[in-house]
Symmetry: C2
Subunit: 430 residues, 2 copies
């Protein structure tokens, strides 16, 4: 991070003119499950959405709004139910969420974005959601605490909230950028749905905001993996309301690059936080592939390693099984020269080479074990071919992962069966 960018204790309400709130409205048993985020004035938006062809209705709703390019005013997010694979009522319910918040705010329905995360294939309890929107929209605040409530309300099986804010100067004005995100957790461990919402008071053109966001997402959120399964509900949305009072950024000048750096710092922090809090994870894995012939190849290889089940189980037991890393590299189809390869692992402020110049180093496995017994382990692969490098983040594959993910539907369906039957009787299920 550049010295001119500083982190502050904050989140989505840190930037000027953003209010938020969050509460329990009945989708989950006890924890907060509905969040609202409102900009005091219309904001330009940028978004990146899941590549899954089975996109959930809220994703399609936001994608359409982003395509149209008009400013937006607010965002409502529920957790506990993904409104995904919910048949013809899915898009109707997504729109009803936007409508309900628009009514409260006196805004147009198309100025409101929506997001859902939780179980797939169960109809959204729309009455609870609409009622909840009415309640939460009365409790919005610009303060830190209100931002925290929203960050709590978007969690599913996350062990902790994921928030950060950063500040920097543009044209003598202080610009603030804040965000909240969620990853995978424990109550509804379905699909490790990844959401991130970013607010800023910077004045910037929609086109530049989208460019900065897309480039940063490719370097951050798109470089993490908890279990290799891509969700139907993933989205990253940024809103910029211009309330910092700077002249609008419209070209890729120094100010833009400063913003892009700050945005990327924020996103990398949240992405790593999501990976570290992956379902059942005991540690964060950072993999850097250096010396690749292209950025694309470096990214592909880093992602392959971070996604390998065998690399992940070895990490769980602090086992320096570099053969699995080589096999994962090769599984990408990218050619590399094994005779010049270096592989090192680092943790607990120490590092060790396992392979140098393609030659295995016979290190004492007991000492490597100590290095790998850390909350964060970094694996560096130097291909020593080209100039490109990429980082990816993931976590280990543990007994806890199996426990947390294996019984989800059975538990949930048994728990919610009476409610579902009532909905079927009321004709709500197509």
């Amino acid at each position: 991070m550049k010295a001119t960018i500083r982190t502050i204790n904050g989140g989505v309400t840190s930037a000027q003119g953003f209010q938020a709130g969050g509460a329990h409205v009945g989708l989950k048993r006890k924890r907060k499950d509905l969040a609202i985020l409102v900009s005091d004035c219309p904001a330009v938006m940028a978004g990146t959405f899941t590549q899954n062809t089975a996109k959930a209705p809220p994703v399609l709703w936001n994608h359409n709004i982003n395509q149209k390019g008009e400013p937006v005013k607010a965002l409502v997010i529920n957790s506990g139910n993904a409104n995904s694979c919910t048949g013809p009522m899915g898009p109707v319910h997504a729109k009803m969420m936007a409508e309900a918040l628009a009514n409260e705010l006196g805004a147009a329905t198309e100025e409101v974005l929506v997001s859902s995360t939780g179980i797939i294939g169960v109809p959204l309890p729309i009455d609870d959601v609409v009622k909840g929107i009415g309640i939460v929209s009365q409790e919005l605040g610009h303060d830190r605490e209100s931002g925290k409530k929203a960050a709590e309300a978007i969690m599913t099986t996350d062990a902790y909230t994921k928030e950060l804010a950063v500040q920097f100067e543009v044209q003598g004005k202080t610009i603030t950028l804040g965000a909240m995100a969620k990853g995978s957790g424990m109550v509804h461990p379905n699909m490790a749905t990844m959401l991130s919402f970013i607010t800023t008071d910077l004045k910037i053109s929609k086109q530049l905001l989208q460019k900065a966001l897309s480039e940063s997402v490719n370097k951050t959120y798109n470089m993490i993996s908890v279990d290799g399964d891509s969700s139907t509900n993933d989205m990253v949305v940024a809103m910029a309301n211009g309330m910092a009072g700077n002249e609008e950024l419209v070209e890729e000048d120094m100010d833009y690059h400063l913003f892009a750096d700050a945005l990327n710092y924020l996103n990398e922090h949240l992405a790593k936080s999501i990976a570290a809090d992956g379902e059942g994870a005991s540690k964060l894995l950072e993999v850097e592939v250096e010396g690749a012939n292209s950025l694309e190849e470096a990214r592909t290889m880093a992602r392959a390693i971070i996604s390998s089940n065998l690399v992940k189980t070895a990490a769980f037991a602090n086992d320096p099984n570099w053969g699995r890393i080589v096999a994962a590299l090769g599984s990408t189809g990218v050619a590399f020269d094994m005779t010049v390869l270096d592989i090192s692992m680092a943790g607990n402020q120490q590092s060790v080479y396992l392979v140098q110049n393609g030659t295995p180093m016979f290190v004492e496995s007991v000492s490597v074990n100590q290095i790998l017994k850390a909350d964060q382990v970094c694996v560096t692969i130097a291909l020593n071919q080209g100039q490109c490098s990429a980082k990816a983040w993931g976590c280990d594959l543990t007994h806890e992962y199996i426990e947390r993910t294996c019984r989800y539907t059975s538990d949930h369906v048994i728990e919610s069966l009476p409610k579902l039957q009532a909905m079927v009787q009321e004709g709500e299920v197509a």
Copy 2:
């Protein structure tokens, strides 16, 4: 399988003119670790090899011989060490294995194929291997028991041997086709290395043998996944020695198609057996995708489902989590219409629709649980779009998988450290 094809209790020695043997020669602690397979007369070969760009030296050795197209006489396989990522000595050791067996048989080095499976990155103890080749080549036999010994000697962490033989008639001659294969197991759970060796006394051109093998591998071995990690040592090799006395098959006539069917039956049986014996597996998963627009799309989707960690953990707990199946379908990037989709699951002689015409069926999860509590669970996805279908096989992801795969290198390196240090002192390690 066509009625004209019958299975027999057999393996690689069932076809006329094939001898085999297997013994413990010191690479593993106690179990057999060296197998030899010899044809009494030169045989045409066909092979398919790992797509991993980090191909192990034995794979490259066989690939070269297959490219040249000359007949082969024998195959030597060691387990316990993959001779992969072993530096400049790797290819030297692979060739030394071929040479040692060629000397015993009075054959040319280029008539001998080699294969290795086991730990990656540890130098092959070549002295033990060469000595072992001398011993095992004195104990070869055409009998069933000798075939069994070979099938045992290629196992790594497999819980059981994988063998089958089938017979059918061509031009009034009985043709026999036998095979042995290995998957993943427990003593050296590295990379789920997949090997399969097929022998037949059919007389067939090399070109047709390769065509039949490649097509069958795409339908069978390439449609299984234990953990999504592709190995540096995978290979399927077929040898046809013509000793059944039929006129050589040189075109795609009815006899060829009968052979192709028999070969595919054999391969499907072994592929399913490998999937069922995947590391830590408690059940076999069969996934069929029907009604796709192309075979390619059907295969991609079936493979995506079988490879999804979340589908696999749900299977472990008998949880009918079809939302994860839809997400896996969508993650392939292949478009499909959710409103016409059917999903059913079958086990224990019962089956149940979870989704029909895109509508979730709210079945009693307790009864589905009973259906899924089976050794073999079949999931059928009807896309109801086109005419193409594909099957894939895998297994569940269990606590046992984590246990078996997590500590491999540490255990192995600690165990073999004295030997490795001796080798380093002797200058054997580059």
